[in-house]
């Protein structure tokens, strides 16, 4: 078995360097880029086409006012318009992310800046009115949405047409689009009612291919074999999507990703390097140099860290690990972080709700795993805080959890020569190494080091096709298709962090009951995010947790109401709260039944178990630092519950 220290070093190397390492500004970009001449011209042409399609959609809506028989024409016009948009998507998402969201974001109202409620706009808002059958009573609303989208298109003038496009960013955009198709496109994320995802994925890849074509002649010169390889990959990918475009549920997502989309992403990077186009350098979760989203180290937790804690410094990780297992953090010196986040249960406690320090089992929420917790743009169920560091502060200060304060803890730790030395080593530049600030940094940095993305599923995605059996493969395809799990628990992290930018972590209202009843159930009284921001729209809203290691983290949901994954699947299969008698006006989970058979549910669960990986993360420290005060040396490693 590896020693923890080795693990830590390995992680540090895998994630490369911190933001503190010297990095140069990007050299001035001048001169003529193929991107700016050819790719932009292509964009202008496709944008024209998209605007025309929107005009046609508008005309069909006007015609439908007079002729109610033209419903089918409406749906056709909608589909044509979004196919046209999909060809542009790789560039619009890259250079105009807000506009893209307004054009094709989820059809859900959300709480914006200064607690303003923003109504959904764009394709998905239209889709809800047009599918499965067009609601002729809403024609004027549909027209308003269509016109709004036409107005939004004007923004592309300033955002893209006036902007000098550069080759390195266009390649980045192309590869992000492939990741977008893999994680969102084929899952039905943005075509939840029309189920037109597969043809749209094809249009998106076609858009990428078109953008690559101007580089072809140069690549043939530099590396003809690569050009042939890339050509055939594009052909095969597009052909596969064309062949399987009719049946959303039957689409074999695993095969598509493993055999076509991943190799395409990878080869496109090779081609970029062959062409001498340096990948961009920027600090973001999904590395611009990763071949695919599933590669080791492709996604870094560091961009989620605050400015003052931007490395996985091994000494800090090791110190954080000691603190994590040390009950000195709590008022009674009996409770450690590990009391509830127990390593043998994937850092959970097996209880429906965590016990308060006074032993109350009804007050707190279910203890979440902290494995991979670093890959989130917000921490805690109610998204109160962004940074793990702040979560540490709140837990230590909470009267129900540690009932202490970081300052008190710092004072205590200062009495241990061993801790003094370890803090000095971990924070050599601090004037006062043992401080509230450094305690929270050490623990949060340790948590950020607890990444485990080497499950059987990950190994499969990296090319070891022996790692999943047929049932698990079926389960993945259901997870990403018919069962719609992947539209919230996103690939490849399986939490609520939205690929491929991984900038935002979503929360949902699904209607979790107070007790596991299947009829006339009552909503759990916890109002979730609304307790933080006071917004009715966010009542009973909770952050989407990871599905990774779910095999080990029962019971489930924020209140631990479900004991097994079967119960969880049953809940989703009936449409969440809406299916068990809970009516929430703001439920964000589609309330219709998924129609999964018992066998299909078992397949999904079998797949979920391929996401288990706790390798090298679970070992406790063999000893805690000593104090001169002998009574303190009786502290139990990992604390008591």
């Amino acid at each position: 078995m590896k020693t923890p220290f080795v693990v830590v070093i390995a992680l540090f190397v895998a994630f490369g360097l911190s933001r503190c390492s010297p990095s140069k500004p990007e050299a001035t970009q001048e001169g003529d880029f193929i991107a700016n001449e050819k790719v932009k011209a292509l964009f202008a042409r496709n944008l024209n086409d998209f605007v025309k399609r929107l005009e046609e959609l508008d005309s069909s809506l006007r015609r439908a006012q007079d002729d109610s028989q033209s419903k089918a024409a409406l749906q056709r016009a909608f589909k044509q318009a979004r196919l046209a948009y999909k060809r542009l998507e790789f560039l619009t998402e890259y250079y105009a992310p807000s506009t893209s969201e307004e054009l094709n974001g989820p059809a859900l109202a959300k709480v914006g800046e200064e607690y303003k409620i923003e109504q959904p706009t764009g394709f998905q808002a239209l889709e809800e009115m047009m599918f499965p059958e067009a609601e002729m009573s809403k024609l004027s609303e549909m027209m308003a949405q269509t016109n709004l989208m036409r107005a939004l298109c004007k923004r592309f003038n300033g955002l893209i047409l006036q902007k000098p496009l550069t080759d390195n960013r266009v390649f980045d955009a192309m590869r992000l689009e492939i990741a977008r198709v893999i994680s969102l496109g084929i899952s039905g994320f943005d075509s939840p009612v029309a189920n037109h995802s597969i043809p749209e994925a094809r249009a998106a890849i076609e858009g990428v291919r078109e953008a690559f074509e101007p580089y072809g002649s140069d690549l043939i010169q530099r590396n003809p074999a690569r050009m042939r390889q890339l050509d055939s990959l594009f052909n095969e990918t597009l052909a596969y999507l064309a062949r399987h475009s009719d049946d959303f549920n039957a689409f074999d997502r695993l095969e598509f990703i493993a055999r076509f989309a991943n190799p395409l992403s990878s080869t496109l990077l090779d081609a970029q390097l062959d062409l001498g186009i340096e990948p961009i350098q920027t600090h973001r979760p999904f590395s611009p140099t990763a071949r695919t989203m599933f590669d080791e180290g492709a996604i870094s937790p560091l961009p989620y860290a605050p400015d003052y804690a931007t490395s996985l410094n091994p000494a800090q990780v090791e110190l954080g690990r000691l603190l994590f297992y040390d009950p000195i953090l709590s008022e009674n010196k009996k409770r450690a972080c590990a009391s509830c986040h127990q390593p043998d249960k994937a850092f959970t406690d097996g209880l429906p709700r965590a016990l308060t320090i006074a032993g109350d089992s009804k007050k707190l929420r279910n203890t979440p795993t902290i494995l991979n917790a670093g890959f989130q743009a917000s921490s805690s169920y109610d998204q109160k805080t962004v940074f793990l560091e702040d979560r540490v502060t709140f837990v230590v200060h909470s009267p129900d959890e540690m009932r202490s304060s970081l300052d008190k803890v710092a004072e205590l730790l200062s009495q241990s020569e061993e801790y003094v030395q370890k803090f000095k080593a971990a924070f050599p530049e601090s004037e006062k190494p043992i401080s509230a600030q450094n305690i929270k940094v050490a623990i949060a940095t340790y948590m950020r080091s607890l990444t485990s993305l080497n499950s059987r599923f990950d190994q499969y995605m990296r090319g070891d096709f022996s790692k999943m059996n047929d049932e698990e493969k079926r389960g993945f395809n259901l997870f990403m298709g018919k069962a719609k799990c992947g539209t919230c628990h996103f690939l490849p992290l399986f939490n609520g962090t939205v690929p491929p930018t991984f900038m935002e972590t979503e929360a949902e209202v699904i209607g979790v009951p107070k007790e596991a009843k299947w009829k006339n159930a009552v909503i759990d009284p916890d109002i979730g995010k609304m307790a933080i921001n006071g917004m009715e729209l966010n009542k009973h809203m909770f952050k989407t947790p990871t599905v990774r290691n779910a095999e080990l983290t029962a019971p489930y949901m924020h209140n631990g109401v479900y004991k097994t994954l079967d119960e969880v699947m049953r809940f989703y299969n009936v449409g969440g709260g809406a299916g068990i008698g809970i009516e929430l006006p703001n439920q964000t989970l589609p309330s219709d039944s998924l129609g999964l058979s018992k066998q299909e549910i078992q397949s999904v669960i079998a797949f979920i178990k391929t996401l288990t990986d706790t390798t090298g993360k679970s070992s406790k420290p063999s000893a805690l630092p000593k104090f001169s005060d002998a009574t303190l040396n009786a502290r139990k490693i990992g604390g008591e519950l």
Binding site: R19, P97, S98, G158, R169, P306, D307, T385, D390, S405
Partner: protein, 533 residues
Amino acid sequence: MKNNLLSFSLALLALAATLTAGCSESPNKAEQTPKSTVELKQYSVTPTFVTEIASGVEAYTLISSDDVLPESPNFVFGGMADGAGLLKNPDGTFTFVCNHEDNFAVSRITLDKTFKPVKGEYLMTSNDGLYRLCSATMVTPEVHGVPSPRFITCGESGWDSQTHIVDPYGAPSATDRILTNFGYWSAENAVTLPKGTYPNKTVTIIGDDDFANGGELVLYVGEGTGNFDNGKLYVAKRRDSNSRRERDIVQNRVYPIEFVEITNPKTRPAAEFNAEAARLNAILFGRVEDIDYRKGSDAAARELYFCVTGQAWAGNRNADSSRTMYGRVYRLMLDAQNPLLGTLEVIFDGDDQTGPARQFMNVDNICVTENYVYIQEDPNRYRAGSGELQGVNFVFDGVRQNHDCRIYQWKIGSPRSTLRTFLEVGPPRDNGELQRKYMPERNPDGSATGWFVSPDGRRGIGEWEYGAMIDVSNETGRPGTFLVCVQSHTWRQGGVNPGRDFRNPDGGTLPAAQGPTNRGEGSYVLILTNVPR
């Protein structure tokens, strides 16, 4: 308690009545310069709603959403009047340009020689790209050396926000252009310094009002006068430290800062700007709001003041209280030779519970004259007992949330303790007709409005805010004349609410599809006279 409230309301009713009548009838006391054809008086049917005003200063309403203008009777002045600029036209008339933030529109009002609004139209509507535009700066040939006036206005629409330049005399919906070298900031304002401040350079300071990620202070420098297109872009960082934490900067100290370059602003996508600012250790303020420079001379213009709006401690990215909660005013002194160097100091700190700014409820717009700083509130409040205030060791100050939006006045160089309230406006609370009109219980769509109630029970406290405050002394030929935009957020007309329909004033397609405009907000613009400069 009930009695107190009643008598207070009655007092207010009386006050409002006085103001309504008084303003339109009171003789104009402003000092007349012989040439001026301008008459400063009440032009609008809407009262001023002034509840407190410095002595000697008079307030009139220039225009409001309720006004019917003779040459464009169907024009409705939109809600949320924000950034604004005034031009004196060669024929003696005036052109007033104004952003309507939540209408995603820009209006253009023609005032006749006497200053009477006679015509209104929309220079940009929500159909022109759905840009939420906040504050703005009118650059002119006289001050900035540009060939003809331009309205520089900042988008505050998430990642894609860019800075726009619009011809105030141009055809509607025809002249909007993006300043691509200004980068992407959820910007409040981009303020260009006068042409003589740094000869042959175009220096513009941009405030990043980024609610989610925190804001940077950004500087654009173009070679030559009036060059907004191919200059370089910089962000402010401390020279004495790499700390990005706003509240590591404390009162009573002066910090050396420098502006460091973000290369390739033209080619980077939006997501890279915050990442670059982080790499460069740029200072991360709460939300950098409006910026203004001291008037009087080119040298004076190197002295700038800006407001930072706060965010609750204990929530989100400010959970470690690294950024201000109640708002701050900073002074930035730029080096005489090199605009990339300067010093920064906190002039007022709203978080100092015993300091002169202990009443600050999130300051937003700012107006600086030769000798004074006018600091305007946008009272974003905090809900006592809400989760975003729980979990840290600080006392939530509910008491200060007990006032309507104020403009504070400070004489530059005087002790900070001389900061005083210069103006306060707020919704009428007469429990009667005025209140029903200006603070209805319902939105146009019939949904409940749910106004904030102060700790002492007064409805709608702090619901209003200010937009731009601009000095129009030169344009009007009347020293001490200012215009102040008032965002009377509780005033909502149309639908179930009687009166003129304020929804969709610009005729764009936005309101049918998106919520905010359907609230049908009204707003108005005040004329202030005898304002000390």
